[in-house]
Subunit: 596 residues, 2 copies
C-alpha cells in the first residue's frame, strides 16, 4: 500500500502516528541483529519503516534484500531509499524492478549525500540527478514516492551570508515544489533540533502551494560524539541552550542518552501539538531511545495494538496480503512458514480448501534456520538455557517445564525469544502439568468461545467482532505415553488428533483431506474469518521440520558422541509428535482428557 | 453420486432407507403438479427418486427435462429410466449425453414394457434390446446402472405350465446375472404382493452369485380399479386372502386406500425385518399413501431430518454440489435462484468472495416465474388469499399480517406455499407488529447464537456442531416510514442495511464489495461453513425481481385500470425495499430497533 494512503487514513481517523528509519548494517551479524530488532519494534505498529540506501552503492544488494524481507517477512509497510549517488542508471532500474517484484510500493527518491571524500554531489555519467524522474518514467503510478525536505536548506546551500542563505532556502523550496509536482506525494525532512524552524518550513512550503503531508525527521541524541558528527555533517543548526546543556553532561553517556530521550519527547509533543500528523524517527538501528520517546508520548502500548489477524499480517499491496489462513503448526515459526511458501502463486484467502494442495518449499536457504546455533555466542546462550549437558529425558523435560513457567525464554521450536505467547497464560497451569508428565508441548492455545474482538490478550481483527478458538496442544511424548493417551483420545467424542514418529506415517482420526478451523472471528459486515487451521497435509510437511529441530537446533550444541546428543537423538528417533484439537470450544475440557 | 455408493453408505451406517418412483405426466399442468409434490416429498429425504421413461418415446423430452430438474432444481439424487422400446439408437445416445450434461448419474436400464396395443416387446431396427449395453459402451463408468428384477419371472415368461414357468424364472435370473456382470450395480424389482416370494427371489439370486443390493418395488394399493389393472398388466400374483379382503371393500374408495396403507406398512416391515436394506415406492405420482406408510413405519419425520445446509443442498456429483454459499435474498425463491445461476461455471464454495462478480442470468424462461398466476385456477386461489379487490395500502398490509400469523399461506415473494418458514416462529410476534406498522416483511431470520447443530428448528450440517445466525429482516415500506426508520438504523451501532426504490439506486452502510455472513456453523474437523450471506452486488439484482413480483404476481390478478392494480402499482413505484442485518448475534435486539 502507498504510504500516502495509510497516512491519509490516519489523518482521517484523527490518529497521530510514527515511523522508523534504519540503515543497512555492514556485516551479516549486523543484518541479523537488525532483523531481531525489527521483530520487536514492529510490534509497536509503526505506520511504516524505511531503509536507507548505502552511499556509493556498495551496499545496494544488501538494501534491496533488507527491504524485501522487511516487507515480506517482518511484514511491515516498507519504504526503500533510492539514491543516485554514483549509481548507474541500469543499476537503479534493476533495483526498482526487484523491489517491485517483492511487493515494496514505496520509494524515497533522493539525489543523495556525497560519498565519503567528496563534499558535493556530482551526477555520474549515465546517472540521474534525482531518482524521482526514473521512478515515474519507468513505473508510472505503481510506487508511492516520498521526497526529502530541508527545513534549514540543503546542506550544500547552508552558507554564512544570510542573504544568500535565504535565497538558497527558497530555491530548495522551489525545487521541492517541483519534486512534488513531478509525483512526490509525501515529504520527510532532514533532521533538526529547532522545532520552530520546522513549523516555519511547513508554513513556507504551504505558502508556495506544497500541500502534501510533511513529516519531521527526529534523530534522538544517543551519544555526544554521534550528535556532533551528525549535526556537523548535515550542518544542522543546534540551538544555543541545547548546546550548553549537552556540553555540561557530555562525559556521562547515560545522562546524554536520557537527555536525548527527554528532548525527543519535548520536540515531538511540540510538533504534534502544532498539528504535525506524525513523526519519523531516525533510529540509527537502535531501539531504546526511539521506543522510550514513543512510550513517554503515550503513542505505543503493544498490549493495545489491534491485530488484524492472530498472526502478523502482510501489509496490503503485496500478493501475500490477501492471505487469510495458515496452518497452526508454524505459529511459533512464522518466518520458516513465509520462506516455505514464498513461491506460491496464490495464498489461501479465507478458506484453506482454496489452495488445498500447495507444494511447500524447502528451508535449505532459510537464513534463520539455524538461528539458535548460528554463532558461538548464540550456542553459548542456548546451552545456558537448555543445559550444558543432558544426562537423560528428565533434563529435557525440565527445560520444557521451565519454558512454560517463563524461567527459560527460548525453545528450538520457536523463532522468537521471549517465552510462551501471552495467549497461553490462561492455560499455564495445565501446560506445566503436561510437560511435567512427559508431554513436551511446543504449541498450544486455549479454548475461546466468543470473546470480544478487542480483548487485550485474545482479540484480533478490529472492533465489534467476536473471536473463537478451539483448544489446541501440540507435543512430543514417548511411545509408551502415547499408547495410553491415544486410548483416552479415541474415547473422547470431540477430539481430533494427528500423530507421527520421525519415520512416519501419520495416524489420527481426521479425514486425509480434512481441514479443521482452529481460530475464527465474526465481524460486522464481513464473512467469517478463519485464520488458523489444522490439516493433515500440512502436518506431514511440518513434522519433518519439527523433528529435525531436535538435532539441528539442540543436539548440535553438544560434542559428537556426547551423552547429551545421544539423549536428544533417541527422542528424535523414537518419540511421537502429536497435534490435538478439542472441537468442543463451547464446553470442552481438553486438558482434563490429556491429564486424566 | 451413484446410488450404489449412497446405498452402501446407508448399509454401512446400519440405516434403512426408501426411494420414490414417479412417471412423466401428460400435461404441462400435470408436470407442474408433480414438481409441487416433489418439493414436499423430497423434504422427507428419500435416498433417491426415479422417473420412468414414457413408453413409445413420445414423452422422451419430457422425461429428460423432468430428470434434469429433479436433480438440479428439486435437488434430489435422481435416476432416469432408459427404455429401448421403439427407440432409435441416436435418440438414446443423445438422451444419455443430455442427462450426463445435467449431472444425472443414475440410469435404470430397461428393455421396456411393450407399447400400448402390443403384448410383447419387439426390438426396433437400430434399437437395442437392453439400454445397459449402450450406457456402458458410450459412457464407461460414469453412470450408476440399475437393472430390473422379476421376483415372479418377467411377465412374458409367466405361463400356466408350472415346469415351464420354473424354467422361465431361472432363465430370467440367469439373464439378470448377465446384466449385473455387464455393469448393473443395483436391482429394483417389479411390484409384488407376496413378500415370501421376494425373499425367495433374493435367495435365488444370491445362490447364482448375484451379490448387489436388491430393492423391493412396493406399489401401495390406492384404488381397486388401479390395482386390478396393474396386477393384470404385470401378471402379478395376488395372494388369495389379499384378494378376498379387497373384494369385501372394493366399493369404498377410502377403505381401499387405508387398506393399501395398512398392507404397505405390513409388507415393508416384514421386508425390513428380514434384512432388506430399503424399500422403493411406486408412488403413481401421489404422495398420501407413500408418506403414510413411511410415517407409520417410523421412517420419516421431517422435523428430524438432518439438513446438510440451511437451504436444500444439490446432491453430490454435480458441478453445483460444491456450492456452499448463497445470498439470503432468494431464500424463499430457491428455484428462481437456481435458474438465474445455472450458467455459472463455478459456484461459491465456502466464501462468497470466491465468485464475487458472477453475472446473474435473467428469469425470462423461468417456468415457475408466474406460478401464482399461471392458470385461472391459480389466479382464483391467489385472489382468495390476497383479496378479491384492494382498496388501499391497509388491505395489502392485512395480507402480510395474515401471512405472518399463518392465516394466509402464500405470498408473491415465496415460491412455496405453506406460510412462513418454521425458523421464524420465534420472531412471529415482532414480525406481526412490524407488518401491522407498515413494514411488509418478505424474508427474515432470528438471531441464533451457538445452538446445537441438531436443533430441531434451526439445526443443519450434521451432529456435534454449533450453528449461528445474525437477525435479518427484509421488507417493503413507504418512503415516510423509511425516512424515520433510517435515522434509527444510522444510530444503531451494530446494524448493516441496504435500501432502494424500484428505480434505485441502492443506499446503505455496507461497503460496495462487502459480504456479510448471515448464517454459519462450526463443526468438528471442518472449516467454518457460512451458507448464507448478504452482499450489495446481489441485492442490486434481487431488487428488480422483488419489485417486479408486485406486478407480475399480484397486480396481474386484477383487471387493468382497477383500483386494486393502482394500489399495487403505487407501492411498486414509490415504496422502498430494505434489507437489515443486526451484526450483534450475541446480544443484539433488532426488533427493538425496528419497532422503536
Amino acid at each position: 500500500m502507498k504510504l500516502i494512503d495509510k497516512i491519509n487514513q490516519k489523518v482521517k481517523e484523527g490518529k497521530t502516528f510514527f515511523s522508523f528509519e534504519f540503515f543497512p548494517p555492514r556485516t551479516e551479524e549486523g543484518v541479523e541483529n537488525l532483523f531481531e530488532r525489527l521483530e520487536r519494534m514492529v510490534t509497536y505498529a509503526p505506520v511504516f519503516c524505511d531503509i536507507t540506501w548505502g552511499a556509493g552503492g556498495s551496499t545496494a544488494d544488501v538494501t534491496l534484500d533488507i527491504a524485501a524481507r522487511m516487507q515480506n517477512q517482518i511484514c511491515v509497510e516498507t519504504m526503500m531509499h533510492l539514491t543516485c549517488t554514483n549509481m548507474q542508471i541500469e543499476k537503479l532500474e534493476s533495483a526498482l524492478k526487484e523491489v517491485k517484484k517483492m511487493g515494496v510500493r514505496n520509494i524515497l527518491a533522493l539525489r543523495g549525500d556525497p560519498p565519503k571524500g567528496q563534499d558535493k554531489f556530482e551526477a555520474v555519467e549515465g546517472g540521474f540527478s534525482c531518482a524521482l524522474d526514473l521512478v515515474k518514467k519507468e513505473h508510472g503510478d505503481y510506487f508511492g514516492i516520498c521526497v526529502a525536505g530541508y527545513p534549514e536548506a540543503h546542506p550544500d546551500g547552508i552558507v554564512d551570508d544570510p542573504e544568500q542563505m535565504q535565497k538558497n532556502y527558497w530555491a530548495d523550496i522551489a525545487y521541492l515544489k517541483e519534486k512534488v509536482e513531478a509525483g512526490g506525494d509525501l515529504i520527510i525532512t532532514q533532521l533538526f533540533y529547532d522545532v520552530e524552524r520546522f513549523l516555519q518550513f511547513v508554513k513556507d512550503c504551504r505558502s508556495v502551494g506544497i500541500n502534501c503531508p510533511i513529516l519531521p525527521g527526529i534523530m534522538p541524541i544517543m551519544t555526544y560524539g554521534g550528535f556532533k558528527r551528525m549535526t556537523g555533517f548535515c550542518k544542522t543548526k543546534v540551538p544555543a541552550e541545547l548546546d550548553a546543556a549537552l556540553e555540561a553532561i557530555k562525559d556521562n553517556d547515560e545522562a546524554v542518552k536520557n537527555f536525548g530521550i527527554d528532548l525527543g519527547v519535548k520536540m515531538c509533543r511540540q510538533l504534534l501539538d502544532a498539528g504535525t500528523p506524525g513523526v519519523h524517527l531516525y533510529t540509527l538501528n537502535l531501539e531504546r531511545s526511539a521506543l522510550a520517546i514513543l512510550e513517554r508520548l503515550g503513542m505505543v502500548d503493544p498490549a493495545k495494538i489491534p491485530r488484524p489477524l492472530p498472526w502478523r499480517h502482510v501489509p496490503a499491496g503485496t500478493s501475500r496480503s490477501v492471505e487469510g489462513v495458515r496452518p497452526v503448526f508454524w505459529s511459533n515459526r512464522p518466518k520458516a512458514y513465509l520462506k516455505r511458501t514464498q513461491d506460491w502463486d496464490s495464498y489461501p484467502s479465507g478458506r484453506w480448501g482454496n489452495s488445498r494442495s500447495p507444494a511447500y518449499g524447502t528451508l535449505s536457504d532459510y537464513q534463520f534456520m539455524r538461528r539458535h546455533t548460528s554463532s558461538d555466542a548464540r550456542k553459548e546462550k542456548a546451552r545456558a538455557a537448555w543445559g550444558a549437558t543432558l544426562s537423560g529425558v528428565e533434563d529435557v523435560q525440565e527445560v520444557f517445564v521451565k519454558y512454560v513457567k517463563g524461567e527459560v525464554t527460548m525453545l528450538p521450536w520457536s523463532e522468537m525469544e521471549g517465552g510462551c505467547a501471552a495467549e497461553t497464560a490462561a492455560i499455564k497451569e495445565p501446560l506445566t502439568q503436561l510437560n511435567a508428565s512427559g508431554f513436551l508441548t511446543i504449541n498450544s492455545q486455549p479454548r475461546i468461545n466468543g470473546l470480544p474482538s478487542t480483548d487485550a490478550t485474545h482479540g484480533w481483527g478490529g472492533a465489534n467482532g467476536y473471536v473463537y478458538g478451539k483448544a489446541y496442544v501440540e507435543f512430543f511424548c514417548s511411545p509408551a505415553s502415547w499408547a495410553s493417551l491415544r486410548a483416552r483420545l479415541d474415547a473422547a467424542p470431540s477430539v481430533s488428533y494427528l500423530a507421527t514418529t520421525a519415520a512416519g506415517p501419520t495416524e489420527g482420526n481426521m479425514e486425509a483431506d480434512g481441514v479443521n478451523a482452529l481460530t475464527w472471528g465474526v465481524f460486522p459486515g464481513k464473512e467469517v474469518i478463519q485464520p488458523t487451521v489444522v490439516c493433515p497435509a500440512s502436518f506431514a510437511v511440518w513434522k519433518d521440520e519439527a523433528f529435525e529441530l531436535w538435532l539441528s537446533e539442540w543436539a548440535n550444541l553438544y560434542e559428537e558422541g556426547s551423552e547429551s546428543r545421544a539423549v536428544l537423538q533417541a527422542i528424535h528417533d523414537t518419540w511421537v509428535l502429536v497435534s490435538v484439537v478439542d472441537n468442543d470450544y463451547v464446553a470442552g475440557d481438553l486438558f482434563k482428557t490429556l491429564l486424566a
